[in-house]
Every structure is written in structure tokens, then in C-alpha cells.
Amino acid sequence: MTDRIAALKSRPLLTPFNIFAAIILVIGAFLTFKRFTQGIGAVSNLTDTHPWGIWIGFDLLTGVALAAGGYVTSAAVHIFGKKEYHSAIRPAILTGFLGYSLVVFALLYDVGRPWKLPYPFLVSQGVTSVMFEVGACVMLYLTVLFLEFSPAALEWLGLSKIRKTVVRLTMLLTILGVILSTLHQSSLGALFLLAPSKLHPLWYSPYLPIFFFVSSIAAGLSMVIFESTMAHKKFEIYMDDRHKQEYNPVAFGFGRAAALVLAAYFACKVFGIALDNNWRFLFTGWGAWFLFELSGFVLLPCFMYSIGVRDRNPKVIRAASVITVLGIMLNRLNVSVIAFNYHVPADERYFPSIMEIGITLFIITIGILVYRFIVTRMPVLYKHPDYEDVH
């Protein structure tokens, strides 16, 4: 424990990453000012024909999918009883909580009147809208994540009484978390059901909600493996023994689960094509792109995960997790901006502006910095010695 505190105190300030992050923060602050004084058009390439861009496709859709590790891990440990992965819960919940918080933060930029975001819940409810359900579930789930994460913060702050009360809610929060996640992960896919004329038939399917939900499980499993890999590289000094011991078992266990989920997801996609009789589209240019996404980022990592599990090779598993994460991002971008508006002529298609990308990088950097702050201080990678009853 003294190692950890000493390491924290002795960290150099001017590391390459810190300098890079500082630059991004300054640029981000400037872009924020521009966004809120000159409007969305001044910092993005969004137009009436392309009202949604990477802030929705990446920040929101990909962000929510990759934050799924929270509900997946807490379900694995608390509902399926996999106690051997216990050390993975808090990092996963932290990633989830930060992920969803950043999604809401990104919405403040994307939405035209962010101060009216409470309106759908407090003033006028558009209950025919899938987006209403997404908003309600995300708000509730953010609360759940906050509560699930709070024991770590409360332990750090020494507020043991409140902590005890919150810990008693664990089972309830876990189940509620799975319910809410099922609902909003699938509903993010359902958003696009409303635009069959705009989304390419290989991606548009009545099963979009199922595709989004199942792939969110694979995304969550893979993000936990990826985040654990990164944490091990950078924050090993802050980890306790249990965390280090479970490093490879988590990879094997989550890797096997990811192999199965990816296989099921692949099958569902094929069934989807069969049911809508869309085989002919596979032989087009869009078909090649679809097959690229499916074979390179679903089949391939599924294969890699299964080899890694069978041969007890964690390196292959960790590589597979990166590819899966990229695949989820590719899928969400395909559905929202790439295969969306496919009818629009090529010279009028959307591409994000450098400022849009800048704001996204700003948001991600804030997330990484907050993650680093928390993980180097609060009992996320280690168990607080005063609270050994963390079951």
C-alpha cells in the first residue's frame, strides 16, 4: 500500500501523455467556447441532410456499447456467481460510469438546446418515441452506475456507514442494471428502425435491437479485457495481489464468453439476411463492406478468442479484444453515418470536420484523466484494507 501512495506522489508531471492531454484540453476549451457562442454548424459538418455525425455515431452509440462491461461483469459475478472474476467488477463499473457520463457530456454539445434536456421527462413526454425510452433508461442507469461505483469512493472518503447501506443494494442494482441495459442497448438500435429508407438493407433489419443488444455484450466483455490489459501496463503498482492473480483468468473466462457471444451474434446476422432475403446485396460494393465488418471484426475475433482460450494463450485473447472493440465501433458508425444515407450522392456524403473530431478527443481525454485520477487513488484496482468484507 505504501508502494501505491509513494508511486502516486512521485509521478512526473511532464510526461508525453500529460503534455498531449494538456494540449487537447486547451483546444477543447476553445472549441467548447466556439460551439456555445457560434452554434453547432460552426464546429461541425452536420447539415439538414446529415443531422447526426460522429458525436452520435461514436460518442453516443459506440460509447454506450463499450460501457456495457459494467452490467456484464456485475451480472457475471453477482448473478452467475463467478466469484473468480470479482476483481474485474470495480474497473468495469468505473468504465461504465465514466462512459455513460461522457455520453451525457457529449450530448450537451450535440443537442441544440442542452438546457432543455430534462423536458422530455418533466415537461412533455413523447412516449411514442424510442428515444424517449433510451433517454429514460440511460438516466436511470447512470444513477445505478453511480450507486454501484459509490462504495469505492465512499471507502476512499472513509464514509463507512453510508457505504454499508449502499453495498446492501448490490443485488438490486445489478438486476436493475441488466434490465435497464437490455432496454437501452437494444433501443439504441431501435432508433434506426424509423428510417428504413435511409439505412442500407444489409444493416437495416427489424432485428436491429437484438443485434445492438447482443453485440453490446461482446463489447462489454472485450472492453473489460482491453481495459484490464491497459491498466496492467500503466497502473500495476496500484493493483493488489488478487487483482494481479485474476488478470489471466479474467482474460480466459471473458474470452470464452466473448467467443460464444460473437458466434451467436454472427449467426443472428446471417439469419437476419436470410429472413429479409437480402442475399443479393452481398454481391455489391456495400456487400463487400458488410462482409468486411462481419468477417474481420466478428468472425475473426471469435476465432481468435476461441484459439486463445483453447491454447491458454492470453495474448491472442487480448488482441481479439482490441479487434472486437474496433468492430463494435465500426458497426455503430456504419449504422449511423456510413451506411446511413447511402442514397446520397458521394460528393454530398458526410465526413466529420476536424473540430468535431477535436471535441470528441477532448471528451475522451477528460474521461481518461478522470479514470486515471480515480484508479490511482480510490480502491478500484485494490481492496481497501478497512473494508475486507467486499464480497
Binding site: D48, P114, Y119, I179, T182, S186
Partner: protein, 317 residues
């Protein structure tokens, strides 16, 4: 202008009085055939000469800023335009690549019977009125632009350059005017009677009659009858619809039906998941307890055997 058939119809229907109060149309699994006496507009593109008088009238009636190029400037028709925050409607020119024949078509909100925008809006900013128009309420709008994603006709526009009060804009069917018994601005301004205002059912009859009378002049289809579940802006044309920028692959399913299935699953998941997950928890917990129990039994038996055999007892693991 003297009494024309168009304005007579306008007076008739205007005099019939209009109900106030709007209702959101929620199509769960029923089919909505539209409010019975709702108004609509029939656009006959064979009569349109691309003079842009309708655009000018719309601009005036809605107090919109005057554009850079005047409405009398017909060179703007050389480019395809879409609605913008200051242009609720535009006229576009379509030239047949083979024959060189020119057709003009006015584009604006089609005031769908079951609007995709109303279905999409999570703050209920859009409402389908009994008069037939689809109204937008900027006071609740959050600016999420899901309505733009949803509209199959790409009509709603959003002011991306307004930092403080950006909102969606679109044709209102001049609701305040029709409530007073007047015609919508564009209909009144059109010198060629390419636009006819009246009850939707009457306009359908008129359109059918025209097609029946002049079969060589019209394609036998009233666009808007069934597209997306039916709209309150109907089109008849001589040039095929795809060639005047209208999609013919939209189908007849009303937009809300695309998402009603996904929404109706929500209560099912809420009802079933707690039992499913709680059950899994109990099953796994029980299995762990049994495993623990069996382990303890095994250890006990091993110790007994060891003691009986006189060997060294094993410690607990």
C-alpha cells in the same frame, strides 16, 4: 382574382369551421385513416411553371427574411434545392435527360397522416391536427434532430448556425390562415392553379377525375394516397415520380409502425427479466451451496478415512 374553383373550395371548407385543439396521433397497432374532415393540398405538376410565386408568398406570410436572390430569379432552379431554415418550400426543376422535357415540382412538408417526425420526437413537439396539418412547437424542442433522421422526405430543417435558440422549421400548412377560412399562402399565390386546397377526400376525387379524363397526361397514381400510410399533400404528375425527385420505394407502412414493435417489448422485458435474473441467481447460489456442501463432505470423509487408516490427517485446504 375572380372566383376560381380553387378558391371556392377554399371558402367552402373554410366556412365549415375548424376544431381547435390538437391531438398526438399514436398508432399502436391500429390503422389511422386520417381525421375525417381534414384538409389537404393537391399539387398537379403538369400545371406548374416554376415561377416561384408560392415560395415568395410563403416567405411573406411567415415573415421570413428575404433571400439573397429574389424570388423572380429563376436561375436558382438550375440547382436542386431543399428546404432551409428560411425556406419552408422550394420549387425544383427536373429535366428529362432524353427528351429535354421540363417538369417543375414544389417540395414542402407533406403533413403525413401518421407523421414520422411526431413518432420520433421524444418531447412531443410535433402534433397532427384534425385540420390535417402537422404542427411543431419550438418551446419544448431540445434540438436532438431525430425528426430529421425520421422524415422520409427530408423536410425538417434545423438552424445549425443559431447558437442560442436553434429550432426546427417546416411548412405549417398555414394553420392560422386556414383556421380563419383563408387559403395557405402558396395555394393563393399560384397563378396556374397547380395547387388546390380542400378536404383530402374531395381532392382525391378531383385527382382521380383528372387522371380519368386525361389518361395520356397523367401517371395513374396519386402520390400521397398510401405512401408512408398516406399524406395530406397529394401529387399527380406526367413525368414519373422518381424523375421529379420523389421516392417510390417508401412503402405504405406508417412510420410509427416501424418502432411500435420494439417499444411494445419494453414492458415484457421489465416483466420477465427480474424473474429470469433472480432465478439464475438462485439456481447458481444453490449450486454453489451444494458444491460447498459436497466439498465439506468429501473433506470429512477423507479425514475419517485417514484417521481410520492411521495415516497423518490432512489439514483443511
Amino acid at each position: 382574382m375572380g372566383i376560381t374553383r380553387r378558391s371556392f373550395l377554399g371558402w367552402l371548407t373554410g366556412a365549415a369551421g375548424v376544431a381547435t385543439g390538437a391531438k398526438t396521433v399514436e398508432a399502436a397497432h391500429g390503422h389511422f385513416n386520417g381525421y375525417p374532415d381534414s384538409y389537404a393540398i393537391l399539387h398537379d405538376t403538369t400545371l406548374c411553371i416554376g415561377c416561384r410565386s408560392c415560395e415568395a408568398a410563403c416567405n411573406t406570410v411567415n415573415n421570413l427574411p428575404k433571400p439573397e436572390k429574389s424570388f423572380k430569379d429563376l436561375t436558382v432552379l438550375d440547382e436542386k434545392r431543399r428546404t432551409t431554415p428560411h425556406a419552408f418550400t422550394v420549387v425544383n426543376k427536373y429535366t428529362d435527360p432524353h427528351t429535354g422535357k421540363i417538369t417543375y415540382r414544389k417540395d414542402q412538408c407533406n403533413h403525413c397522416q401518421e407523421p414520422a417526425c411526431a413518432s420520433a420526437c421524444f418531447v412531443g413537439a410535433f402534433k397532427k391536427t384534425p385540420e390535417g396539418s402537422v404542427q411543431y412547437d419550438a418551446s419544448v424542442c431540445v434540438g436532438c434532430r431525430y425528426c430529421q433522421i425520421a422524415c422520409p422526405f427530408n423536410i425538417p430543417t434545423f438552424d445549425f448556425d443559431d447558437a442560442f435558440t436553434p429550432k426546427i422549421t417546416k411548412c405549417t400548412m398555414c394553420q392560422p390562415r386556414i383556421e380563419k377560412g383563408q387559403l395557405p399562402g402558396c395555394v393563393e399565390a399560384c397563378p396556374m392553379e397547380a395547387l388546390t386546397f380542400g378536404k383530402r377526400s374531395d381532392l382525391v376525387e378531383i385527382a382521380r377525375e383528372r387522371i380519368r379524363k386525361y389518361p395520356q397526361r397523367y401517371i395513374d397514381h396519386i402520390y400521397g394516397m398510401d405512401e408512408m400510410g398516406g399524406t395530406n399533400w397529394l401529387y399527380i404528375t406526367e413525368t414519373p415520380f422518381e424523375q421529379v425527385g420523389m421516392r417510390t420505394d417508401l412503402g405504405v407502412t406508417p412510420a410509427p409502425e416501424f418502432t411500435s414493435g420494439a417499444l411494445s417489448i419494453v414492458p415484457m422485458i421489465i416483466g420477465l427479466w427480474p424473474v429470469l435474473l433472480g432465478g439464475l441467481y438462485v439456481i447458481n447460489k444453490r449450486r454453489d451451496e451444494i458444491d460447498e456442501h459436497e466439498k465439506e463432505e468429501a473433506v470429512k470423509t477423507a479425514i475419517e478415512n485417514a484417521n481410520n487408516g492411521g495415516k497423518e490427517g490432512r489439514h483443511d485446504r
